[in-house]
């Protein structure tokens, strides 16, 4: 039984300016607001506030929200990359992330070599790399370019290769951040099919996107992130409607969501 759970999680990201930067330019102490705090030597960004979310096996969650709302940060916390400043994180299952299509790739190495490099970086054994190699080659469909250094590839070709590797891994929990917009139309169609297939085997999908269509196609739940807090967590159709109506009214990020909102959201999930 796979799951990812966050309980009343806060995450502060240190700005990390050096001591001397304040001599040269204004620091966070001058620009403090609800989301930029004065804590620590260089100040912090209050990236997430009071986030409670419970994702269980079989859930397909679409993360929506405006730029800067905290979607990518939330994905990294769910993936276990960022550990919460406060609150509890709990996960069970093999987590695979698709945040960047060029993880572990070396521009000097060929496409075929990069299958090995990227897959090994993602933690696959040699045997597992051999098992997925042909499938990745077939899916990426790079033709003769496969044996050329990827520094010669277009962005779309690199993304195809990266997508093919990341989705060949048979994850139990797949966490994806805005990667579907790459590649030509034919590739996107195949990518849709592949992600649908991966979803069939993956226990959990969490996907951040600005496309309501993608969210509706792949997800059955929506998590609306606003100003570092969760504004809504629930069924996809209702979530898209609420987000659509709410985001039009939303002003630029000012304050975290009230503590009661995530608690309501958590209640909905259980």
């Amino acid at each position: 039984m796979n799951f990812v759970r966050l309980n009343d999680v806060d995450l502060d990201l240190p700005i990390g300016r050096g001591a001397f930067s304040s001599l040269l330019r204004s620091g966070p102490r001058d620009t403090a607001s609800d989301r930029i705090g004065k804590e620590g030597p260089g100040g912090v960004v209050h990236a997430l506030r009071n986030v409670t979310i419970n994702i269980e096996s079989g859930d397909r969650v679409g993360i929506v929200g405006l730029n800067g709302a905290g979607k990518s940060t939330l994905l990294r916390v769910l993936a276990g990359i960022y550990q919460p400043t406060r609150g509890a994180y709990e996960a069970q299952g093999r987590i695979s992330t698709l945040f960047s299509s060029t993880i572990g790739m070396n521009p000097m190495a060929s496409g075929r070599e990069n299958i090995f490099l990227s897959a090994r970086t993602l933690g696959l054994s040699r045997r597992q790399v051999v098992e997925i190699e042909e499938e990745v080659i077939e899916f990426a469909d790079l033709g003769d370019f496969l044996e050329l250094p990827i520094r010669l590839y277009s962005d779309g070709m690199r993304a195809r290769l990266g997508f093919a590797i990341a989705t060949a891994i048979d994850p139990e929990i797949l966490i994806v951040d805005e990667v579907f917009g790459v590649g030509d139309a034919a590739f996107q169609q195949r990518a849709d099919q592949r992600i649908a297939k991966v979803m069939g085997s993956a226990g959990i999908l969490v996907m951040a996107s600005h496309s309501n269509n993608l969210i509706k196609r792949f997800c059955d739940k929506v998590c609306w992130v606003e100003n570092g807090g969760i504004r809504f967590f629930g069924p996809v159709d209702e979530g898209i409607d609420v987000y659509g109506a709410g985001s039009k009214k939303s002003a630029p990020p000012k304050a975290p969501a009230p503590a009661s909102a995530p608690q309501k959201a958590a209640a909905k999930t259980s």
């Binding site: 993936a79 960022y82 550990q83 960047s100 993880i103």
Partner: protein, 270 residues
């Protein structure tokens, strides 16, 4: 807080052996990738990694030419002294030079995949060790030409190599973690290294006067000494082994503590 499923090993093996096998399996990937990282640096050159021993030989040759004051008799002994010293110094100084920036350089992988910092540290250590493997022909040539008959002491090179690897791992971790909090280390390290190169008995001998004081209070002297003594068919003094042992234990303990203590705090500072 993280409860990620990582059970790769199973069966009835004793716990210690199972843990050891797990560690080997866990670090095999980054060791291979480190080797790959090193060799691909030279991908577009004609001579490839052969440049590495050429560079070391040129350094040693230059130093011997400039500072061997007894050309003819004794020059072989001096060349062996400088060659072994440079080889050991190159390993440690490469780790120090790479230390501050290697974690920030691995930010793409660390921020986008849920892998441990120790994995990227082992990968970089493997890259540094690969460089030394390619440099090996230089000290081997000098030993064969100018050294004495092989003795059982050469077997001591195995524990000496382990000591150097442990210290390089510690150096990478300590400098990498500290640099995440204080980027000044990236600028400070090269400055200090220039001084240390001349302050370490690589091409001079610390047998009397100010040089003796400099050598006695420089920890690198002791690391070079255990290699030189072993190659010369001797056992380094007890004081040398104690100093090296204490430094290794302290540095490795500090590295592991830093890794555990600041594991989560580092990622979003990269």
């Amino acid at each position: 807080m993280t409860a990620q499923k990582t059970s790769h090993m199973s069966g009835n093996l004793p716990e210690d052996r199972r843990r050891l096998l797990y560690l080997v399996a866990r670090f095999r990937g980054p060791v291979e990738l480190g080797w790959y990282d090193f060799t691909t640096v030279f991908r577009r050159s004609y001579l490839g990694p052969i440049w590495t021993p050429i560079q070391l030989a040129a350094w040693v040759g230059t130093l011997v030419l400039l500072f061997s004051n007894r050309l003819g008799e004794g020059v072989g002994e001096y060349a062996l002294y400088v060659g072994i010293g440079m080889f050991a110094w190159e390993f440690l100084s490469t780790a120090i030079a790479a230390g501050p920036a290697f974690l920030t350089g691995s930010a793409g992988v660390l921020r986008n995949t849920p892998i441990d910092i120790s994995i990227v540290t082992v990968r970089r250590l493997s890259m540094i060790a690969s460089k030394s493997v390619f440099q090996l022909p230089v000290p081997i040539f000098l030993i064969v030409i100018f050294g004495g008959a092989p003795t059982w002491h050469l077997f001591l090179l195995a524990p000496v190599a382990v000591i150097f690897l442990l210290n390089a791992y510690s150096i990478l971790t300590i400098l990498g973690v500290l640099n995440a909090f204080m980027r000044d280390l990236e600028f400070l390290t090269p400055t200090v290294m220039r001084f240390l190169f001349f302050a370490t008995p690589i091409f001079w001998k610390g047998d009397e006067g100010f040089r003796k004081i400099l050598a006695d209070y420089n920890p690198f002297s002791y690391f070079l000494e255990i290699v030189r003594a072993t190659v010369n068919g001797e056992i380094a003094s007890l004081q040398t082994w104690v100093v090296v042992g204490v430094i290794t234990a302290l540095c490795f303990s500090l590295a592991i503590w830093l890794q555990q203590r600041f594991r989560s705090a580092i990622i979003y500072r990269l």
